[in-house]
Subunit: 406 residues, 2 copies
């Protein structure tokens, strides 16, 4: 039973990666019998997760083989991304397309108030779907930094979010919207989006780094997201780094600072302001990045200087062949980061060790929200070893019954 | 079929951990039916992997329940540990006891010569076993540093081992001794010994660090050893660290050195010699550690100073609740290391993050060899997810046939 489910998901993954395949292709690839694949394909088609994609002539004679592909309308996911200064909600389909999106830029309010906001957004998302589509909604993904109440000094925030470390927003949300809620920290969620909809179509092993207000990261190993004992694996933002040499950095007498205080857009904002440039909002920040200028370059130097040894350390620990870099702002910044980090990693490469391939992320500013929305689909449709062990994904469930897909 | 095998291994693991259990205990714990457990227990007993362990009265009435435990004589493993300055071979049983041991302290010779040495040792080990025991030999484990030919400068070795990076010693050995050979790098092998026979009886998630001539490490996550894309995960020895401040350290103009050049007994040896103390061999080194003295303390300061941020970085990446520290020399050194590292980790703990529990390793100077010998047993008897996926352990096999246990 578990093995059947695992094999179903393996074939779904294969179709996500190859685009189109015949039953014979799938059987060959998965080393399953034609009968087993035929039965799995039939049930995947009946549940609308895959659809016919025409026919292809194979060899000289015989009937052309029927091809199958993922049906983008086969499943839907809603994602909620909470950050210290924004709340974002999106609806995506199984093809990874964003069908609806709502964002609030605000200092994170009390959980009750945030719940009211998110609930309204989700209601509007649901109204986009008809009855059939709504039955294919796999649930709500919730992505939020693990300790919302911490690192406010490093992030230059004058606020008190401690209440957020005390409430279980996932459970609250699940109750309120009567949907299963899948929760991950924001870095892991974005890495899962990359795995399910982005570079994961080609790569099964990579380190994912997202430079936003803070720094998020995730590790993908053998097509699975590394969770860690407390759900906080690949928490690169907390890696020890030498203190910044920028004049804008808060003075410290500690020998070790943490990576997020240097490799983050928050550090860039601080440095721009320190250099006399006004930054009132995200658009201002983007404007400064687009026009370049010395302050941006100075921050970039400092950011890369901190990031490179942390990445080398992470790669020594995880032994991964690729690093994906994404950022909340593009305007050339992502390419610059990729180029600079690549050069930096080569410069301090230990003897006899390769430098990993550096790749651009797929989602940029949408990484967090698409990451959140990917969670219900990833946990419902990805061939994770837990499926074999009979351990279901740990979702907050609003009722005792198992949600079924139809 | 795969699930049955996985369940067998899960019950074996349970018995390794609890010592003794009845069929009812096992069924309750594994959430399997009594019939399923009865059938598994029967086949494990028939293959001599477990044995009866008396009876226990459960409740007021009825027959006392039969208990089972691991049969230490149910399986055997041979381990070969190659290092740049030694070759060690051991024979252990399923209880983790060392039944025979041979060590050669020598600068690693040409692979052909090493093969002749190892082959003789293995022949002597095999002569210890009678016919029945020999049929229960699960194979040979080979543990060696990943790049024997590298880091000779950091390790103060004037030798040329490049030939070792070119030959496949695992395949050579498998051919020569007609046994399946399981190969891991030395750090991962020692971590697997700890998982299978040591702290793994209580812990399923830990980072393992071994301070020997160089520095070896391994990561255990959910009861599995993290391998990495090239078999080199948890390669802590190559993490970037600031250059040593010891006068004995080789001068460098690089900004980043690697951890093994500071946190290793090689660095201690160098510092003792620099301080005018003679170190001709391992016994000399042990003598200096036992008598303490300023040079040992100076190295210890420098070692911990490098180790602490590297461990913090590793834990940020892996999110593990425990760190096991072991060392090739004890005489109080391991306890000192544990205490100092614990204090250091607390000192630079990031806000809102726990400091992991620090534990002593179980095998000390035998960690490498027992680690190697654990490999055939770990890959044959541990409930790894690969078993469910139908992916066998990647052993070098001398023949095409599957080895069976009897």
């Amino acid at each position: 039973m578990n093995l059947r489910l695992y094999n179903e998901r393996t074939l779904l993954q294969r179709l996500r990666r190859t685009g189109e395949a015949s039953k014979a292709d799938l059987a060959r690839w998965a080393q399953l019998t034609n009968t087993a694949v035929g039965s799995i394909v039939q049930s995947l088609e009946e549940s609308h997760l895959i659809e016919p994609a025409g026919r292809r002539q194979e060899g000289q004679r015989g009937q052309p083989a029927g091809l199958y592909r993922i049906n983008p309308e086969g499943a839907y996911g809603i994602g909620v991304r909470l950050d210290r200064t924004s709340i974002e909600t999106v609806l995506i389909d199984l093809g990874g397309r964003i069908l609806a999106r709502e964002a609030h830029d605000l200092l994170l309010p009390h959980p009750d108030e945030a719940l009211a906001l998110v609930r309204k957004s989700i209601t509007r998302m649901l109204s986009v779907l008809d009855g059939t589509q709504r039955r294919r909604l796999m649930g709500v993904g919730l992505a939020q930094p693990y300790n919302l109440g911490s690192w406010l000094r490093e992030l230059d925030l004058k606020a008190d979010f401690r209440i957020w470390d005390e409430v279980d927003f996932g459970a609250m949300l699940s109750q309120a919207v009567e949907q299963p809620v899948f929760k991950e920290n924001d870095g892991n969620a974005a890495a899962i989006a990359e795995l399910f909809f982005g570079v994961g179509r080609e790569e099964s092993d990579f380190l994912y780094v997202f430079i936003g207000a803070a720094l998020g990261a995730g590790a993908v190993i053998g097509g699975e997201s590394l969770r860690g004992s407390s759900g906080n694996a690949a928490d690169l933002g907390l890696m020890p780094v030498l203190p910044s040499r920028l004049a804008s950095a808060p003075p410290t007498d500690r020998r070790w600072d943490i990576l997020l205080s240097r490799a983050s857009l928050n550090a860039l904002t601080r440095h721009l302001r320190h250099s006399g440039l006004p930054v009132r909002n995200h658009d201002d920040l983007e404007g400064h990045v687009a026009s370049g200028g010395r302050a941006v370059d100075e921050w970039l130097d400092d950011c890369v200087d901190a990031l490179v040894p942390s990445l080398r350390a992470s790669l020594a620990v995880l032994d991964l062949p690729a690093v994906v870099i994404d950022c909340d702002i593009d305007d050339g910044l992502i390419d610059k980061l990729v180029r600079r980090v690549d050069a930096g990693l080569r410069e301090i490469a230990p003897e006899a060790r390769q430098t990993p391939r550096l790749l651009r992320g797929s989602f940029g500013t949408n990484a967090g929200a698409v990451g959140a929305a990917s969670l219900p689909m990833f946990f419902s449709f990805s061939p994770r070893a837990d499926v074999l062990r009979g351990q279901p994904a740990s979702a907050f469930s609003h009722t005792a019954k198992e949600t079924t897909h139809a």
